[in-house]
Symmetry: C2
Subunit: 269 residues, 2 copies
């Protein structure tokens, strides 16, 4: 297993090969660092009858909800992001919500699947974090082995039908001299949250205390560093949960779907 782990981490296995191993239960851990260069995605599955409003919500809020792919109703095959993959089995861990309440965590959602379900794949911060690394920008939470800090803001999402709520953001502290570069580098990837939504004073977007994030670990901010905030993929899940949809299935945190798309495929153009 260790040799496989190293191979997967080093990029020796294709996305399809990694998904096969995940499907066969050979990999059950978070996906960070797997298949370098390939985009990973957030998963949200909802019934067809509310899929239209959810799709409109994603369209109206592209920074927190950068839509990569939508399956045909009943099909678990993301024909654009990874043709032939099976979204019921190809993620290492899922969460199942009924009327907004977490009902189960599992490694296979085949028994929940049905002809009325639609799966949405949304861009993930791994893509722009890879680009930041390549640009020589520091990523404190990674260096510290922590989860990124995430906060519920007072920035309202544009509502769509039953879906509404505040934007959730992730925060990465940066030396002030690096802010401009970070904006340019992440702004190249509008389908992976794009440029920051806010730089500086957390109070301006309704965050009272940086030391108490709603999700993830508290940050460590050094002298001369400024907090930089990006729209976060937790937003659509939080909004769907708050709407108490009859059934919603998502990836478990950190256990993403590995696509066949290059990070570069999520860049603008």
């Amino acid at each position: 297993v260790s040799a496989v782990t190293d191979l997967m981490r080093a990029g020796g296995l294709s996305p399809a090969e990694i998904r096969r191993r995940i499907r066969d239960g050979e990999w059950q851990a978070p996906t960070s660092g797997l298949a370098p260069g390939y985009a990973q995605a957030n998963l949200v599955v909802v019934p067809r009858e509310i899929a239209y409003e959810f799709l409109v919500f994603c369209h109206r809020n592209p920074k927190p909800c950068p839509l990569i792919d939508v399956t045909d109703p009943g099909s678990p095959n993301p024909t654009y992001a990874a043709p032939g993959a099976d979204l019921r089995t190809d993620l290492p861990k899922y969460r199942v919500y009924r009327r907004g309440v977490l009902e189960a965590e599992c490694a296979d959602i085949s028994r929940y699947w049905g002809p009325d379900l639609v799966a949405f794949l949304l861009g993930c911060s791994f893509t722009f974090e890879t680009a930041m690394r390549h640009a020589g920008l520091p990523l404190r939470h990674q260096d510290d082995g922590q989860n990124v800090s995430m906060y519920v803001t007072r920035i309202p999402c544009r509502p769509a039908g039953m879906f509404s709520g505040p934007m959730v953001v992730s925060m990465r502290p940066l030396p002030i001299a690096d802010v401009s570069r970070a904006v340019l580098v992440t702004g190249r990837y509008p389908r992976a949250h794009g440029a920051p939504v806010h730089v500086g004073d957390p109070a301006e977007i309704g965050i009272r205390d940086l030391a108490r994030p709603e999700f993830g670990d508290p940050p460590r901010i050094g002298p001369g560093e400024v907090p930089v905030f990006w729209a976060c993929g937790v937003t659509p899940q939080a909004v769907a949960q708050a709407a108490k949809v009859e059934l919603m299935i998502t990836h478990a945190p950190g256990h993403m779907f590995i696509t066949d798309l290059l990070d570069e495929d999520l860049a603008a153009g």
Copy 2:
């Protein structure tokens, strides 16, 4: 009227003021050149029951169908693109299709409107043509006072439910030395068709004869110039027409909706 025309052309009137004049019947002509700096948009109105599939189609084909705004069912108010505007009256000319057949051209669609209709606004090539002008790039069809040449290609759109068909492209000839700059300049506007989909040999995308465009005027291509092809907003209309949707309403060619958004709001980020 001539003074008003000059004012509107020169940018002396706000988008809202121009829309008011259009609504009042004071302007019935094409909108090219009005409200410089502001984005104009293609309009497609369809019944709610097929709006989901149309929205998925737009999402799957962002180059020909760059979605700017979707109204709530029954509402003619594009709350993002122009809050308070009325899509039933604020365009100079509309086309009404029943089961794919043109039924009427009119200046007001109030009598066709109902609680089940949804309006889609899609980015328009005026935005990237303005950027090309600002970048000093030539626009042959404008210089010649012609319509841009448009062609049906063999590039398939990604289908969604009832909607499928080939991509329609517009073609602008450019000196070969200008191609790279044109790609960069237009690529900044993914919500206005973005970068070209093809450069060079028309046969490679299934165009047999550049002199016989399916829409618009034949091009004039000079020596040393190369044809450059962009995805075209005619695509979603052609696809919806081919699907013979019960009712579809669009803008009449060239008679666009003038939004409150700056061209720059359609740039990536």
